[in-house]
Amino acid sequence: MSAVGVGSAPAEARGDLDAAPLTARQGLLRALWRSKNGRIGLVLVGIVVAGAISAALGGTPYDPQFQNASALLQAPSWGHPFGTDQFGRDIFSLVFAGLGVSFEIAAVSVLIAAGIGSIAGVIAGFLGKWTSAVIMRTTDMLFAIPAILLALIVVAALGAGWRNSAIAIGVGYIPIFVRVVRGPVLTLRESGYVLAGRVLGFSRRRLLFRHILPNVSGILAVQVSLALAWSILADASLSFLGLGPPPPTASLGEMVSQSGSLAQLAWWTLAFPSIAIIVAVIGFNLLGDGLRDAIDPRTRKR
């Protein structure tokens, strides 16, 4: 997911339609790198993901939860690049640990949303009218509840916590995946090669997994990227409201909420967690936009 794959893409990625899947994918990466949004998105996401992974592996300069009583609310310095908070914890370490937790929750919630949502979407698009009607009406109803509100209700029912946040955020995003996947499946179902496959007597499963799903994967990738951005935002919002994973889990939203009363004296307690959230959200949003540009032949420049 970096520049490494881009340079090795073969020069000949022109005939997209009948190109081998591998070549098409490398062409996608290259197109992604060529769009300005995609490039900035890749870089931003690369920075925060690399930081979060190294923090998760214990690569932070301090233990995020270590409270140094002799270094309370210190301004940024060489020892503490992002300063320290009111308990003397190193904000640099906390921010990256918080990003790690945030990504874990985002990944699980997007897995839930994309898994359930796209299966439901494919079924609604591919199977008969009745099943489709039931799924789409249910989706409409879920859609009628603002996503963050739906997440709040689920947290209210399940209680605050790591896993519950992921479930709550995932549930809120399911309807979007259903809608995004169903549309193209409806079109693909009537496309020449699927009809041909049907005439040849291919099983439904083969048609679905070999002929339809690969053609939805690009749209799915765009939506996954946008969903990750939304999940990070939603997770930060939930923990800002005090409904995220309880302490001592590092959490960016909670850091912002805690800093509210301190920020006037210690701007760094507000600034750095905020910047981390913003970079992650904008990064995934731009990556999604870039992917959209890359797979849309109308905007794909050669």
Binding site: R137, M141, A144, I145, P146, I148, L149, A236, F240, A263
Partner: protein, 308 residues
């Protein structure tokens, strides 16, 4: 629309019934264990738990339709009266934020599209990136900090004043949270407006209008903007969902006694009658507004009117 509302009420009911424990243990805490059997039966009857689920749902639905939203478990007052005092605050906040968002979005969108690549356009695009990428609670917290540092102004220093009671104080208390919320909405509306105006500008009738010598302003607003407005309207309807979700967070930041703050307090206090009712009110508001948007299409576009 009624079907959607019905479905929404079922979803909220089902989700909230998943909860472990029940209203009894959560409202009485440890002392619930000291109750006699007869007391438990009586309390179950009072709270309506212990009946079959479908019956519980139907009696909830019946109560809502007749305006009885139940009794708050923590404050022991009727949910309806709590909602009555909180709803106007959220309503006002949402309206002011939507209006501000529309002004920001339409002005930057139209002028940006009329002069692509110029200063207005670029500053608009920058605002859009910030508005879409920076969560409202960060903008809000930053704004509160800045107001405190620069003007020694604290939003929570005085109790909330109603619009009728003290309009000037009310304005001061509403304008900053509304502005915070409006940035996100404005950014989305701006992008849609800009794209839509650019598309319409290329139409033949625009060239004709300009060719026959109509003043630029008249072409922009009468020929281009009105025809470009439908996607903007759709986007505004979608944004209202985010707006309603956003009020929950912003009311927390600016300490406004609205529905959103009530919801968060209720979730933390496990006050389920309040959670249920407030969630349903938010969802109902969203559904109703989206229906109004559909009606507005017909008002704006004579072709849709004719097609009906």
């Amino acid at each position: 629309m009624l079907l959607t509302l019905f479905g929404v009420s079922v979803i909220i009911f089902v989700v909230l019934r998943l909860l472990p424990g029940n209203a009894l243990t959560s409202s009485l805490g440890v002392s619930a264990g000291l109750l006699s059997h007869a007391q438990i039966v009586a309390l179950n009857h009072y709270y309506g738990i212990g009946e079959p689920v479908v019956q519980q749902y139907l009696s909830w639905l019946h109560a809502i339709v007749t305006g009885n939203l139940g009794v708050s478990l923590t404050s022991r007052t009727s949910v309806a009266s709590l909602v009555g005092s909180a709803l106007p605050v959220t309503f006002e906040l949402a309206i002011v934020a939507m209006v501000l968002g529309l002004i920001i979005g339409v002005v930057f969108g139209v002028f940006g599209a009329r002069r692509p690549g110029r200063a207005v356009d670029i500053s608009g695009q920058t605002v859009a990136v910030i508005g879409l990428g920076v969560p409202s609670f960060i903008i809000g917290t930053g704004l509160v900090t800045a107001l405190a540092a620069l003007f020694q102004y604290f939003p929570s220093s005085e109790p909330f004043a109603s619009l009728a009671g003290d309009p000037w104080l009310n304005f001061q208390q509403i304008i900053f949270p509304a502005f915070t919320l409006s940035l996100g909405i404005g950014a989305a509306i701006m992008r849609t407006t800009r794209a839509s105006v650019l598309e319409v500008s290329g139409q033949n009738y625009v060239r004709t209008a300009r060719g026959k010598g109509l003043p630029r302003r008249s072409v922009t607003w009468k020929h281009i903007f009105l025809n470009a407005f439908i996607p903007v309207l759709t986007m505004s309807g979608i944004q209202l969902g985010y707006l309603l979700g956003g009020t929950v967070i912003i009311e927390q930041v600016f300490v406004l006694p609205g529905l959103g703050r009530m919801l968060v307090t209720a979730i933390n206090g496990r006050d389920y009658p309040v959670v249920q009712s407030v969630a349903l009110i938010f969802a109902a508001g969203f559904v109703v507004v989206n229906m109004l948007v559909d009606v507005l299409y017909a008002v704006i576009d004579p072709r849709i009117r004719a097609a009906r």
